[in-house]
């Protein structure tokens, strides 16, 4: 665990941690070893430059500056630590109370925190130094209380993020007290970022303390810390600069040690959820059926999408004719959305797309994306699930639509706007001229999705790719949006690639359905065959698992036992074998290719000829 952590930390992290250890060890042992040397006054050696005996020279009383810098580590680090602990504790208490108190009191404290955060830290420290008096005690309190508001603010923000989650609501309903919720649920869930922030605050406190001592507001003689040594050294900087440089260097190094360690910890936490591996397995064989089609609008053969360590799309082949509606159905993680993004060339690095063939309107889309930008911008439209994040919230809807033709067809502003209004009314937005001048938040969810579709058809596309376009919408609105897609398709002979997790919706909208499982197409069949005549056991189970308006309420629903395989660790044979009632040894050893069964039908199953005798076979109680 520790070794792996170090490897992840990299050279920067290792040096930061080494520096941190050095600083801490020095703080502990330096006074024990060098105290006498640091305090020894030697009138014969006043203000000497660096030499073998005195690496950083001597000061006004002939004391060894290097020894003094080493000895001062304890006081400098100790005081900064004390100030940080004070600031973090105070901040944590204030910030966390906002989560415990009621809404109104919480808001008042929040306002107070916001006001104090607005003051610059150093100014606040100077102000407190005046109140608490000049000296180490005053400086600790000053820096502590100057750190507190920022920390309170972070605690409050993090806590309110956690407080909104359902498990807090569940604990409240279960009668768990507020204080207990804070200690058991809220604090453990925000501890990691707080520890990181505290470490970085420590670095800040070191600098602030050095500044205060340097200004004469911190540690007072005869005690000394780095800030004070720096101040003393600075008076003689023209005689021998080492006396100022060495304490200055000490401050910088120690502050860096804390800041960098904080960042290393932060990065380690951030990385913990993702792990990188290498792709050990060879690329899977190309599916046997290339399906050449003369009038294909879109032709994809052996499409693969890979990210470091994982290949979520493993050889997808499909074709789509003008005016045809093809659906891709699958569960989350099946690779259906990535397939759509890969076709639209929207996969960003480190994602990688390869294909034996990727043609749209006869043009090879592989290679440099910028070469195809115009074709993709005008002939291919993409509609996403979340209409709110797809539209720019601060730009008028009409302008966003107009931009499409202004960019790709060099239309002038007035023509583009007129086209935008026309397209908005084409997607049945009432009073389109007025609506075009509104911002996205003035639109309802359904209207936004229709506006997105309107944007898609600004430039007469040949293909619309819709990725879960109605999942976020209510059923009545969903009906309108589906109808709209249907109208555009028939009126303008546009191809539609419709991606959804919902078998029923896909079956209703599309003529042909591709079923995806673990990154591959396992069945390609006419939508009309979906309900009764599917061949792949997964397709059958998927259809049977969804209740519809005719499902027998007295029988349990069909269930697919187990869960989809981890894309990082796929089995050798058929990916569905572990959950399949028909699986044999062959299934577990050999991955079945997607073979043509009859015209227009393909299936990847060794037992496609065999019908599942009883659906009850695939009933289980594990999901």
């Amino acid at each position: 665990m520790a070794a792996r952590g170090l490897r992840r930390a990299g050279p920067l992290g290792i040096s930061a941690l080494a520096l941190l250890v050095l600083v801490i060890v020095l703080a502990l042992v330096a006074p024990l070893i060098w105290q006498q040397r640091a305090d020894a006054i030697n009138a014969a050696e006043i203000l000497r430059g660096p030499s073998g005996a005195h690496p950083a020279g001597t000061d006004l009383l002939g004391r060894d500056i290097f020894a003094r810098v080493l000895v001062a580590t304890r006081l400098s680090v100790g005081l900064a630590l004390l100030a940080t602990v004070l600031g973090v504790t105070a901040g944590l208490l204030v910030g966390a109370t906002t989560a415990v108190l009621g809404r109104r009191a919480g808001r008042w404290i929040g306002t107070l925190i916001n006001i104090t955060v607005a003051f610059p830290n150093l100014l606040l420290a100077l102000f407190f130094a005046v109140i608490f008096g000049v000296g180490a005690k005053g400086a600790v309190l000053a820096i502590g209380f100057a750190t507190a508001p920022g920390f309170a603010r972070i605690t409050q923000t993090l806590a309110s993020g956690v407080a909104g989650r359902d498990f807090i609501a569940a604990a409240r309903i279960a009668g768990v007290g507020r204080f207990r919720i804070l200690t058991r649920h809220v604090l453990p869930n925000i501890a990691e970022p707080l520890v990181v922030t505290a470490t970085i605050a420590m670095g800040g406190a070191m600098l602030a303390f050095a500044s205060l001592s340097f200004l004469g507001l911190g540690v007072q003689a005869p005690s000394y810390d780095w800030g004070r040594l720096l101040g003393e050294g600075l008076q003689q900087i023209y005689i021998h600069p080492a006396g100022a440089l060495i304490p200055g260097l000490a401050v910088v190094l120690a502050a860096m040690a804390f800041n960098l360690s904080g960042e290393v910890v932060a990065r380690a936490i951030g990385l913990r959820s993702t792990s990188t591996g290498t792709l050990g397995d060879p690329p899977p064989p190309a599916p046997s059926d290339p399906m050449p089609e003369a009038d294909a609008l879109l032709a994809v053969h052996n499409l693969q999408v890979s990210f470091p360590g994982v290949r979520p799309v493993r050889g997808v082949s499909l074709s789509l004719r003008r005016g045809e509606a093809v659906g891709i159905v699958g569960e989350s993680g099946s690779g259906k959305s990535l397939t759509a993004l890969a076709i639209a060339r929207l996969i960003e690095p480190p994602g990688e797309v390869t294909a034996d063939r990727l043609e749209f309107l006869g043009e090879d889309l592989r290679g440099d994306v910028s070469a195809h930008r115009r074709l993709l911008g005008t002939s291919l439209a993409m509609v996403f699930q979340d209409p709110m994040t797809s539209l720019n919230p601060v730009q008028r809807v009409g302008r966003q639509l107009a931009e499409v033709v202004r960019t790709h067809q060099r239309a002038d502003r007035r023509t583009a706007w007129a086209r935008a209004v026309d397209r908005l009314s084409a997607v049945r937005i009432a009073d389109a001229a007025k609506r075009a001048g509104q911002l996205p938040h003035e639109f309802s969810g359904g209207m936004r999705q229709r506006a997105m579709i309107g944007m898609g058809v600004m430039a007469n596309p040949a293909l619309v790719i819709a990725d879960e376009p109605t999942t976020a919408l209510d059923v009545t609105v969903q009906k309108q949006v589906l109808q709209l897609l249907q109208n555009i398709r028939s009126a303008e002979n546009v191809g539609l690639l419709f991606i959804s997790h919902d078998v029923t919706v896909v079956g209703q909208v599309c003529e042909r359905v591709l079923v995806m499982y673990a990154g591959r197409i396992v069945e390609d069949l006419p939508a009309s065959a979906l309900r009764e005549h599917a061949r792949h056991p997964y397709t059958r189970a998927l259809v049977a698992a969804v209740p519809d308006m005719e499902t027998d309420r007295n029988l349990p629903l069909a269930v697919i036992p187990g869960r989809p395989p981890d894309p990082r660790d796929l089995p050798v044979g058929c990916a569905f074998a572990a959950r399949c009632p028909l699986a044999t040894d062959r299934c577990r050893e050999e991955d079945p290719p997607l073979d043509s069964l009859e015209t227009g039908r393909r299936v990847a199953c060794w037992h496609a000829e065999q019908t599942v005798p009883h659906l009850s076979l695939i009933k289980g109680e594990q999901s």
């Binding site: 009668g175 453990p188 209510d474 009545t476 079956g507 979906l530 209740p547 594990q622």
Partner: protein, 235 residues
């Protein structure tokens, strides 16, 4: 188990003048041992009604019995990934909802929702979405509630898992004779689990009745509109 009753319940957010009325004078009964399916579109107020029943939304007017105080009403939420504390084992999460910690009872509840008892020590990240919803269901049952509210509990699940969770809900309800308010925007799902259906729109209940009657012969125009919008597979 006893009935859950809403009497003239109003929930208003914001001030009297400029605020919005999320639930508008709703009276609704979930009879003891029965499942009432509450359907409606987003913004209809169905989730607010549920949250009012467990004390997460303040009542502006009206009365709900049993009261939210004292663990009588428990709730299962929509998002399986937010429902369990990632820092606690699922056994601890379930035990927290009990009056006093009882390991044997945690094991019994896990078995009840179809999970092996030895998974009590697992953290939530080891569980699938469907398994998490089962744990959330077990936690809701842990306090021996009189009423369970399920708010869109299968909406975030994949279809292959949704079926398993619905089976558990249906079976538990029948076996333990639970009183349940089952909220969903999916009419087919509501039809499958409920005895009675209530249709909500703009903060009001517009139709209420036995599931076969309401879905077979809807009286309110809005119910008809909802039914017409249900996607039907091509035959």
């Amino acid at each position: 188990m006893r009935a859950l009753t809403f009497e003239n319940v109003t929930v208003r957010f914001g001030s009297r003048r400029r605020g919005t009325v999320a639930v508008d004078d709703v009276s609704l009964v979930v009879p003891a041992g029965q499942v009432v399916g509450l359907v409606g579109e987003s913004g209809s107020g169905k989730s607010t009604l549920a949250r009012a029943a467990v004390g997460l939304a303040p009542l502006t007017a009206g009365r709900i019995t049993p009261s939210a105080r004292g663990r009588h009403v428990q709730m299962v939420f929509q998002d399986p990934y937010s429902a369990l504390d990632p820092r606690m084992s699922i056994g601890e999460s379930i035990a927290e909802a009990m009056p006093s910690v009882d390991r044997a009872e945690v094991a019994r509840l896990l078995e009840l929702v179809g999970l092996p008892a030895d998974r009590a020590r697992d953290r939530p990240h080891l569980l699938s979405g469907g398994q998490r919803q089962r744990v959330a269901l077990a936690r809701a049952l842990a306090g021996n509630p009189e009423v369970i509210i399920a708010d869109e509990i299968t909406s975030a699940l994949d279809v292959s898992i949704q079926g398993a969770v619905l089976n558990v809900v249906r079976e538990l309800q029948r076996r333990m004779n639970l009183t349940m308010l089952f909220i969903s925007h999916n009419l087919a799902v509501v039809r499958y689990v409920s005895d009675i259906v209530a249709v909500m729109r703009e903060g009001k209940i517009v139709e209420y009745g036995p599931v076969d009657e309401v879905l077979g012969d809807p009286r309110h125009e809005y119910t008809r509109e909802l039914l017409a919008a249900v996607p039907r597979p091509a035959h």
